[in-house]
Amino acid sequence: MRIWVPRDSAAKALGADAVAEAVAVEAAARGLDVQIVRNGTRGMIWLEPLVEVEQDGVRIGYGPVSPGDVPALLDGKMRSLGPVEDLDWMQRQDRLTFARVGVIDPLDLADYEAHGGLAGLRRAIAMTGAEIVAEVTGSGLRGRGGAGFPTGIKWNTVLNAEADRKYIVCNADEGDSGTFADRMIMEGDPFCLIEGMAIAGLGVGATRGYVYLRSEYPDAIAVMQAALRVARGAGVLGPDVLGSGTAFDMEIRVGAGAYVCGEETSLLNSMEGKRGVVRAKPPLPALEGFLGKPTVVNNVLSLATVPVIFEKGAAHYAGFGLGRSKGTMPIQIAGNVKRGGLFETGFGMPLGDLVNEVAGGTATGRPVKAVQVGGPLGAYFHPDQFDTPFGYEAFDRAGGLIGHAGVVVFDDSADMLKMARFAMEFCAVESCGKCTPCRIGAVRGVETIDRIAQGDADAIALLADLCETMKDGSLCALGGFTPFPVMSALERFPDDFGRQREAAE
């Protein structure tokens, strides 16, 4: 009998390790022949630890399970959730990037292959670099890190650059609050990222790859490192990738707690052993990236989506989505929600459906007040805007961004002036210091919001002016986008910025 107990950090944070231990102990006590598989998470975090038991070839779910529930679970006395694949949360999704996460043993290469793994890489090996790049372009895949730049166009620039060395760099510095999709992939399906990077290497002619992985993710680091060893041992990585005659190998680089290193040029400086200061563009990293060589810098999700594009074809992938936002987006639902987790779906679902139907409203049961989409640099949405369809263009028109697709829900106890102040405070703490609007502006922003809090109405115009300067004058998204949460809080929740004033009068 096989029993799955997730090893994903979110499951561990809710006690999965103790549950796995209890399953082993109780099974032994009952003389049961049990094989425990430590899978990734299905993404239903409110059910974690979600234990699955194989019954007649079907995986039946139980959760959340505590160690004390394990005897009843093994004796068939615990109430089940039914077949996991049939749960509403799973049925409503189109899982392409996350097809295997939660299903397979993350470090079992045979399990990976049995679920479609390596098919994409094998197909890519038979193609020329230009054909590989054309396939990615045809899929419509856009950078999943936040900027939404077409991945194929970036690859094409690197393909056409003349150089003795080229690099594939995976940006795994997932620092945005409300996002955990990169972590889930790396912990739940690491070979998928490795395969995507290998295809990228074959496509643009790079033989070396790096994953810049944040130090706040020790579990993801451990799984990725173990997966690299397995992949190397099986010839997926190395001097002759799957017998193709082409070399590709990669290593993990651990970040050091600087949020700004999620910005690609700052990340490259950090990898080179410098302060993680932003570089002015041009030159583009695609032409002068790591150590001055042409470099593809892509987010984890972009690279981890490449295998399925090659496995099923560009047209299949492009068949999902809305307008120029093609394909699917792994949306991460977080904060104060009844049902939080990862929900992968084609672009186009209205924000309100995500919050009210998929997430089931707030965990506290109080009314939703605000939803921040796209991490600490994303705008706060008011429930009045809940008809906005989830996509790059629609969110842009609504004065926001989807970023890395984190959706953080707040109930009516949230103080939006405090959230605006936090956005400026965070920018001040994390600014790399290179450009003045960000370095000084963020500090002045905190002070200006404090003046507003003390009832100084004149400071409101000053804050708007400061945000304009930061937006237009900053080198990168940290200073340039901090105005999104600040101004959206100010404009859409004016009561929170006037209340203190009335109290002061």
């Binding site: 950090s9 979110a10 561990k12 944070a13 809710l14 975090i45 409110w46 997932e174 620092g175 945005d176 609050s177 409300g178 996002t179 955990f180 990169d182 972590r183 130090s215 706040e216 993710y217 020790p218 579990d219 290593e251 680089r253 651990v254 970040g255 050091a256 707690g257 600087a258 949020y259 950090s270 990898m271 080179e272 052993g273 410098k274 302060r275 993680g276 200061v277 790591f290 150590l291 991460q332 639902i333 977080a334 904060g335 104060n336 929600v337 939080g340 965990a363 921040q372 600490p376 984190g406 953080v408 829900v409 707040f410 109930d411 949230a414 959230m419 936090f422 965070f426 994390e430 790399c432």
Partner: protein
């Protein structure tokens, strides 16, 4: 976290540095390796690293001080990180952090008087659907409330 230990010798530091020199862009891996061995990056290491990489000691200091992770002095025996980012705030992380700091009688980045626990803010552990989140050394914890935090702190000897 390692217990306080005797100051590392220059030779020990040199060995650790040498182990990373084959990498492209070795400075961050070196700083991580030194900190892993000694619990902090001792001043004595800066000159050794500078010499090995043929850069100035000021440059090494500049890089080290840029990143939140690197410590000039050792932390307490355990490091408790409490997430301060938005998703955890939506679940009451601010109040949890305030009460924890008050209980420990220290500010952010401070260490308890008995040297058991250093408490630090962290901006996102990727546990945003089960906040408030915390990490004790490398162990993640979700849905942290006051009772759970008390257990974690007493296990850590605070």
């Amino acid at each position: 976290m390692p217990n306080p230990m005797p100051a590392p010798t220059e030779e020990e530091i040199r060995d650790i540095v040498a182990g990373q020199l084959h990498l492209e862009g070795p400075l961050l891996p070196i700083l991580h390796a030194v900190q892993r061995s000694f619990g902090h990056v001792p001043q004595a290491a800066l000159g050794v690293i500078a010499e090995a990489l043929n850069i100035t000691r000021a440059e090494v200091h500049g890089v080290m001080s840029f990143y939140h992770d690197f410590r000039e002095v050792p932390a307490g025996r355990h490091v408790v990180r409490i997430c301060r980012a938005e998703a955890c705030q939506a679940m009451g992380a601010d109040a949890l952090a305030a009460r924890t700091l008050e209980k420990l009688g220290t500010a952010w980045h401070g260490t308890t008087a008995n040297g058991a626990v250093t408490v630090e803010p962290v901006y996102c552990l990727g546990l945003c659907a089960c906040g408030p989140a915390a990490m004790v050394d490398n162990r993640v914890v979700g849905h942290v409330d006051d009772a759970k935090m008390d257990t974690l702190l007493s296990e850590a000897g605070a």
